[in-house]
């Protein structure tokens, strides 16, 4: 980690080399260790450290972007020249007025020394705890355990500066028997919160319970889906619908429907960059402080997230959700919360007359029909048939194909606990377990 002072110094030096009307620079620092295990032994153990600088310059309304991980003076000069050259070749962007003229975003504590200083021996000790749980049943453990420290600094030629740093610790595991598997994961800003034994214990229990699964017919079932499964759905909903572009272009389930009820009254989804229950990030990659955005409020489509340029198209202000320039999508929520309910998962299972309990979804794809949010995907790592409120037996995995607007209009119960799920892309989701009526399973597989 360079720290605020050094990071901003580098950015200001870079900005001083740029001879154009406006420029902004972002520094992304990362130090990350990751330990991967399979067959109850570590097979991959890696560390990386990198500092990337993004420079965006505007010659009038012509914008050029260049990105580099070379931070010596000569390389910074080259970066400045390259961004300016690109701007020269650009055509004016009518929706560009100016980079951010923003106040300093509020500080939010998200950096834990324990996580930043975690070494591979500590990670191996945690992995050992997981393997010990699998060993009790003679199962094999696989998974990954990472500890990361990130910093982001922002400066532009209008005087806006921002700085934030955060840590993240993450572990997932799949425990496998010859006929079954079980999954668990855990995310936290602070490695000290970690109880690796518990992660291993949960996955091992699911693996043990799901041995010798029976085949079950496809069709509609009431389901209880875990937070891990809801997380997979949320990532795709965000990707296809919670950014400004898909709304503006008429491609998404939100398009033309703001103010309309598109999900059940019990569904609320919002983004809050400052809430430390997620992976907080107080400003975006354009230096704009993040606003709390209600996306779905009691089932009603309320709002999407904006960058500077996408907001200008609608005569609005950025909500502080820009992704780095050059990404396929301009703006997305990155600290997403799904409103909780008042039930425990056990109560939800107990209320199932004839249904399924889903540990996890796998390989969801949300591009089938983005206006209906028609998704497909598989169940994975522990699926159970429930009758009269009791788990009867494990079942082989099923494929679902269903509209998430319809599914989220038929949510009968929501858990009171929500779980933090670290995203492999940007940020995180904080999501509860759901009981959904008549979920459509369209196919099945052999295991």
């Amino acid at each position: 980690m360079l720290g605020e002072q050094r990071a901003l110094e580098i950015l200001k030096k870079l900005l001083s080399m740029v001879e154009v009307e406006q420029a902004e620079a972002v520094l992304l620092g990362k130090a990350s260790g990751l330990t991967r295990f399979a067959n109850s032994t570590i097979h991959q153990n890696v560390y990386e450290k990198d500092t990337v600088i993004l420079l965006r310059v505007a010659k009038g309304k012509k914008i050029g972007v260049a990105r580099s991980n070379l931070t010596d003076t000569e390389s910074l000069k080259q970066l400045a020249r390259r961004a300016a050259e690109i701007a020269d070749s650009q055509v004016p962007n009518p929706n560009f007025e100016s980079f951010a003229h923003s106040p300093r975003a509020p500080e939010v504590g998200a950096f834990y020394e324990e996580t930043a200083n975690c070494n591979p021996t500590q990670r191996a000790e945690n992995v050992k705890l997981v393997i010990a749980e699998a060993d009790k049943f003679g199962f094999l453990a696989a998974g990954s355990h990472s500890t990361t420290a990130n910093e982001i600094a922002y400066a532009n030629s209008l005087g806006t500066t921002q700085y934030h740093r955060h840590t993240a610790a993450y572990m997932n595991t799949v425990i496998m028997s010859p006929t079954s598997s079980g999954y668990a994961d855990y995310s936290s800003l602070n490695i000290a919160d970690f109880d690796a034994r518990k992660v291993g214990e949960r996955a091992t229990r699911i693996c043990a319970d799901s041995q010798n699964p029976r085949e079950i017919e496809e069709g509609r079932y009431d389901v209880v889906v875990s937070p891990e499964a809801v997380d997979e759905i949320m990532n795709w909903l965000s990707y296809i619908g919670f950014g400004a572009e898909s709304l503006q272009e008429g491609r998404s389930f939100m398009s033309g429907r703001l103010g309309e009820r598109i999900m059940g009254e019990n569904i609320s989804i919002w983004d809050d960059g400052l809430d430390p229950k997620g992976i907080p990030m107080p400003f975006d990659f354009e230096g704009v402080p993040k606003q709390r955005i209600a996306i779905i409020e009691r089932g009603v489509a309320k709002n999407v997230t904006y960058s500077i340029i996408t907001a200008h198209k609608e005569g609005k202000h950025s909500t502080g959700h820009a992704l780095p320039p050059g990404e396929e999508i301009a703006a997305l929520p990155t600290n997403v919360f799904f409103g909780t309910g008042e039930h425990t998962v056990d109560e939800m299972i107990a209320s199932l007359k004839r249904g399924l309990l889903v540990t996890r979804f796998h390989y969801i794809n949300g591009l089938l029909d983005t206006r209906r949010a028609l998704f497909t995907g598989m169940t994975r790592d522990g699926t159970f048939y429930v009758e009269d409120g009791k788990i009867k037996y494990p079942v082989k995995n099923l494929r679902f194909t269903d509209s998430m607007l319809e599914a989220f209009s038929k949510v009968e119960m929501i858990s009171k606990e929500a779980k933090l799920q670290l995203s492999s892309w940007y940020g995180a989701n904080v999501v509860p377990a759901l009981k959904i009526k008549d979920f459509n399973f369209s196919g099945k597989t052999e295991f």
């Binding site: 890696v46 580099s68 690109i86 598997s181 052999e446």
Partner: protein, 476 residues
């Protein structure tokens, strides 16, 4: 910096069973045009090195973007420390298959260096294609993109390998999205991820994006009025770019030997193609032969040496329907008492190599496409991928395609939209009864294959020509 890495490898030679160092500089340029404007032009340089060691039979890896000999020495020491942490849970020693260390260079053969072509020339092609697509009143979103890579890499090992490679990639594509009657339909050209190759700018020029813009827009608009894909069992003709993705998901990934051994179990999953099946399992019909071929000219998965210094090879995966071989690394090949077939590839200097696809090619058959259509009574012809999903052993898949044509009594009756088909991998490939000839065969580049934690993106490719599959379940 290469000499510094050589010195560091010399110094740690006694302390390790094996070590290698990779020094990589990746330069990329990505241009995105949307709705008549240049959405973004982004230029990126990333440079750094990674050192991979085996100490007491255990792996360690560390990397850095600070290019000094002192930093290289520190990173090597860090990799050794990490390997010692790995040892805390050691079950067996890592053993690498035999490999003669090579001293060599390799460079992608190109005619026109894409980085020497001006931005203006590149942008003007995309803007012109965009303008033509937007002439169609139903088109709400028009897009075009180009991307170019230059990867300079050095591979050094304590065994004495010293390999320098320069890989150049060029890619492009366009897409039109039509919106109307509460429906959205997208068509892309030449495929939904565009197309990319280890070739120069000539590859992009040969695509003729401008000439194909009007048809792309027309098809998107026509799909809005097309009837829904029927539901039931139909004979399915899958065209090249969709078949490429079918090969990718249902043959490429399940034959990665590290996945078979379980090292991806907690991420994208394992594989149904377990080792006892090699040499005897019927993967598909006699018409199905699939090779991994990192040597074929211009393929996106083409190189001189993999990231373990193993020469590029062409090896069989499926021969006349029988599963015969995997994609391997030195570590995994040793477990089967074989030599590596050179499929270890790393996504940059800060990642270790994993087993990745190269060009995984379905061999052409001898059918003419017209004859195949004429020979089909009750069928559907699909092209261009829209959605993809497969289970964690690579058996149950579902694919959606951008476009489909209904075939009845040997004739194309018209378009249908929202086509989806699903199946179980070996049953599906067993139903293949015809593959079109080399005339229709093309290597499709897929620049976005994800694997591993931390996530790595590989640039791979699949040669394919249209093929027919009997009685496939279509519709949801």
């Amino acid at each position: 910096m290469k000499d510094a890495l050589k010195n560091v490898l010399d110094k740690i030679r006694q302390a390790v069973d094996y070590a290698d160092a990779r020094l990589v500089t990746t330069r990329s340029e990505k241009i995105l045009v949307k709705n008549g404007a240049v959405d973004s032009i982004a230029d990126e340089v990333s440079r750094g090195f990674g050192i991979r060691v085996i100490v007491d039979g255990c792996w360690g890896f560390s990397s850095s973007s600070v290019l000094t000999e002192a930093e290289a020495a520190r990173v090597a020491q860090e990799a050794i420390e990490i390997a010692r942490a790995t040892k805390l849970l050691k079950k067996w020693d890592v053993v690498l298959s035999e490999e003669e260390p090579k001293v060599d260079t390799y460079e992608t053969r190109i005619i026109k260096d894409p980085f020497s072509v001006s931005l203006d020339d590149k942008i003007s092609i995309l803007l012109e294609a965009d303008r033509i697509m937007r002439k169609n009143r139903m088109i709400r979103v028009s897009e075009g993109s180009m991307q170019f890579y230059r990867i300079d890499k050095v591979f050094l090992s304590t065994e004495g390998a010293d390999i320098e490679q320069t890989i150049i990639e060029s890619g492009a594509g366009i897409a039109a999205t039509a919106i109307g009657n509460g429906d959205v339909q997208k068509r892309s050209y030449p495929a939904s991820w565009g197309d990319t190759a280890t070739r120069g700018f000539e590859f992009v020029q040969e695509m003729k994006l401008v000439d194909n813009a009007e048809k792309t827009a027309e098809e998107a608009a026509a799909l809005l009025k097309a009837p829904e894909c029927p539901t039931g069992e139909l004979d399915l003709i899958i065209c090249g770019s969709q078949l490429a993705l079918q090969v990718h998901e249902s043959c490429g990934h399940p034959t990665e030997l590290d996945r078979v051994f379980g090292t991806e179990a907690s991420f994208a999953g394992t594989s149904f193609l377990t080792v006892e099946k090699m040499g005897n399992f019927r993967y598909g019909s006699e018409h199905v032969s699939i090779f991994q071929d990192a040597t074929c000219e211009g393929g996106l998965g083409t190189f001189g040496y993999d990231d373990e210094g193993v020469p590029a090879q062409r090896t069989p995966i499926v021969e006349k329907g029988i599963f015969v071989g995997y994609l391997t690394s030195r570590e995994t090949a040793a477990k089967l008492n074989r030599r590596s077939n050179g499929c270890m590839r790393a996504d940059g200097w800060n990642r270790i190599p994993l087993i990745r696809m190269t060009n995984i090619n379905l061999e052409p058959g001898d059918w003419e496409l017209e004859h195949l259509i004429r020979d089909t009574k009750d069928g559907l012809m699909v092209d261009s991928n829209k959605s993809w999903s497969i289970d964690d052993k690579r058996l149950n898949f579902q694919f959606g395609t951008e476009i489909a044509w209904r075939i009845k009594n040997g004739k194309i009756e018209g378009l249908v939209k929202n086509a989806v088909y699903t199946g179980i991998t070996p049953e599906f490939w067993a139903s293949c009864d015809a593959v079109c000839s080399a005339k229709y065969w093309h290597i499709w580049g897929i620049p976005s294959c994800g694997k591993g934690e931390p996530m790595q993106v590989a640039h791979v490719a699949h040669g394919a020509s249209p093929a027919r599959f009997r009685k496939v379940r279509v519709g949801v």
